[in-house]
């Protein structure tokens, strides 16, 4: 339908760089999410794309059309706000009609559209309710219906579920995904909730402090974070800082050395011996080597200092030469590590991601 490009957009508030040279693209019918902690500039970026905020630098294109200076009402967008923005002085029907009239939809088509969009969001029969008679979830469904009724080229959602309770949020996020799939509209969705972003997005832009840190599919971001921020923001991680020693040029395997911990792993291109690096190891990627098995040379020795049973996993805190590592046991062995404080174990890192620099 429509390709969205935000080309190197920036927004400054005095000295603060709310958004700095953010480059964002959403292809036809793609579901793109901007993910980041509060204050990272994700909502500002979305509002720049919508035309609610003027960018100080950069341009916005819908397909090949430069919309940078167009007001929101001339961009044919659908925007769903974090707070419910249904007009409180109009009932549901009149709220939807407002958008249809603004887009000059002929009168005879109005009733058909209202029926159609209320069916999409499962809110048939609510035409005459006033917004104050709707629950948070219902109001947000009507908001989505109001936006869909105007048949926008692109859908922009700004944390639409953050004021809705957990169970309903879970349900609605998949519905939003389904609506996006069925209508085939290009969508940019803003959230601070990683689970939400992973569940529904084709691609995710991770933002922090006004800049785009990394772009990728959920699996790419999880398995291969490219910056310390992404590594710490997405999922749980152990950060082991150290120095890169001897890279085997044939196999690409290098050794990261730090106090008492030695990690052998595949080193990506662009690294050299002596670089300061951070090895990111997810808790589920650390294994305890059974006592009966031989210990490899690089196995890390540590002492269990804490064991927390979480139901589907047992989280161990293991002190390895001063570095406390989080280790998740998922299999049946999780039950045999419930009261094991002080026990010595040998750990092996199954997988790790290497990032330049030291994670603070």
């Amino acid at each position: 339908m429509t390709r969205i490009v935000a080309k190197d957009v920036s927004k400054f508030y005095g000295e603060t760089k709310a958004v700095y040279r953010a480059h964002l693209e959403a292809k036809d019918s793609e579901f793109v999410t901007i993910l980041g902690p509060s204050g990272c500039g994700k909502s500002t970026t979305l509002r720049i794309i919508a035309g609610l905020i003027r960018a100080d630098e950069g341009r916005v294109y819908f397909d090949d059309k430069d919309v940078t200076h167009l007001p929101p009402n001339r961009r044919n967008i659908g925007f769903v706000f974090q707070r419910v923005a249904l007009f409180p002085h109009m009932n549901v029907r009149r709220n939807i009609v407002f958008g249809l009239k603004a887009r000059h939809v002929p009168g005879r088509e109005i009733d058909r559209r209202i029926k159609e969009v209320l069916a999409i969001v499962h809110m048939e029969g609510f035409e005459n309710r006033s917004p104050s008679q709707l629950s948070g979830g219902q109001a947000q469904r009507i908001e989505i219906a109001r936006v869909l009724a105007t048949n926008p080229d692109v859908l922009l959602f700004d944390e639409p579920l953050s004021n809705i309770d957990a169970k309903l949020r879970d349900e609605l996020k998949f519905e939003i995904r389904k609506i996006q799939r069925e209508t085939g509209k290009t969508m940019i969705y803003v959230t601070h909730d990683q689970g939400e972003a992973f569940a529904i997005s084709d691609r995710i832009y991770v933002m922090s402090q006004g800049i785009v840190e990394q772009v990728g599919t959920p699996t790419e971001l999880y398995l291969d974070p490219s910056t310390p921020f992404v590594a710490s923001f997405i999922g749980q991680n152990n950060f082991i800082t150290g120095k890169l020693e001897k890279i085997d040029s044939a196999s690409g395997v290098g050794t990261i050395l730090t106090d008492g911990i030695e990690i052998r792993t595949q080193i990506p291109d662009g690294f050299a011996s002596g670089d300061k690096v951070t090895a990111c190891v997810r808790p589920e990627d650390i294994e305890i080597i059974p006592e009966t098995q031989p210990k490899p040379e690089e196995a890390t020795k540590g002492t269990i200092i804490e064991s927390i049973f979480m139901g589907n996993a047992t989280r161990l805190h293991v002190d390895a030469h001063g570095t406390v590592l989080k280790v998740d046991l998922r299999g049946p062995e999780r039950f045999s590590y419930l009261n094991v404080k002080g026990k010595e174990v040998f750990l092996s890192m199954k997988k790790c991601t290497v990032i330049k620099g030291h994670q603070a």
């Binding site: 925007f79 707070r83 923005a85 407002f98 603004a102 887009r103």
Partner: protein, 270 residues
């Protein structure tokens, strides 16, 4: 037993105090009302009756209509000017905004007579050209505009910008958004300004008194004053005063019934 008695005594003292204060506040109104209902019989005895209301000199009523007309015209013009001005003040940032707010607040501390004099001096040219009514309106419009702007500023600050933003995203232009979304939502706030201007303009005295000679227009409050000067404090004058009070009171009551107290916070006790 002793404690209970002490408690009762405390309550009595408290209620007594409240009654005394209420009495002090209401006394002038009650006395005026009683005076307006006092009829002196030929033998010198007095009784209660509506006679003073019938004695009101016929010329009083046109002054009431004039006061109503001036108040309503002032309101219409102030609303038309005040809403856009308040909108601009709230939604747009510009240099000197804070200074402007301070100046606006400061206007309230100018003594009434000085403010009235300034208005008269400023709009003197209008009295010469229009011979009265519109000069009067000019002075009143300028004098009460601030009240409208202040109440509208409060109303706009209460209004979440997301309604206007969502209207714009739905495809509505600025005018449609303003008339269909913004105005209905700030309506009650605007009405608070209208109410305040009505009550104050309808009863305004100082400017009206100073404007009386050049414009040859006499508003109802000035008429009450003139009657006191001419006839002394008589029963029919008390009746005139009561009528003016009742008109203001009726407008306030109708407003409170229709809109409620939400937009009068800080102006009246609720």
């Amino acid at each position: 037993m002793k404690a209970a008695r002490a408690e009762t005594a405390k309550q009595f003292a408290f209620y007594g105090y409240v009654m005394v204060i209420s009495g002090l506040l209401l006394l002038p109104f009650i006395v005026t009302l009683l005076r307006s209902l006092t009829v002196t019989l030929p033998d010198g005895r007095t009784t209660l009756g509506f006679r003073p209301y019938l004695d009101i000199i016929g010329a009083f009523w046109p002054k009431v209509y004039l006061s109503l007309s001036i108040s309503i015209t002032t309101i219409l013009i102030d609303t038309a000017i005040g809403i856009p001005a308040a909108y601009a003040l709230v939604r747009y940032n510009f240099r000197g905004k804070k200074t402007l707010y301070t100046l606006l607040n400061g206007v309230w501390y100018v003594p009434g007579i000085c403010y009235a004099l300034s208005l008269i001096l400023a709009y003197y040219f209008l009295y010469k050209w229009f011979l009265g009514y519109w000069g009067f309106i000019a002075a009143y419009t300028a004098g009460f505009l601030l009240l409208m702007i202040m109440t509208c500023i409060v109303a706009f600050r209460y209004l979440d910008p997301c309604y206007e933003e969502s209207a714009s995203c739905l495809g509505a232009g600025r005018l449609t958004t303003f008339f269909k979304v913004t105005l209905p939502l700030i309506g009650p706030g605007v009405s608070a300004g209208i109410l305040l201007i009505f009550v104050l303009a309808f009863n305004e005295f100082i400017t009206a008194l100073l404007l009386n000679p050049p414009t040859r227009l006499m508003t109802a409050p000035v008429r009450v004053y003139a009657d006191i000067r001419n006839y002394g404090v008589r029963e029919f004058i008390a009746a005139e005063a009561v009528i003016l009070q009742l008109i203001s009171l009726a407008v306030v009551i109708v407003y409170l019934k229709l809109v409620g107290t939400k937009y009068l916070r800080g102006v009246i006790l609720v």
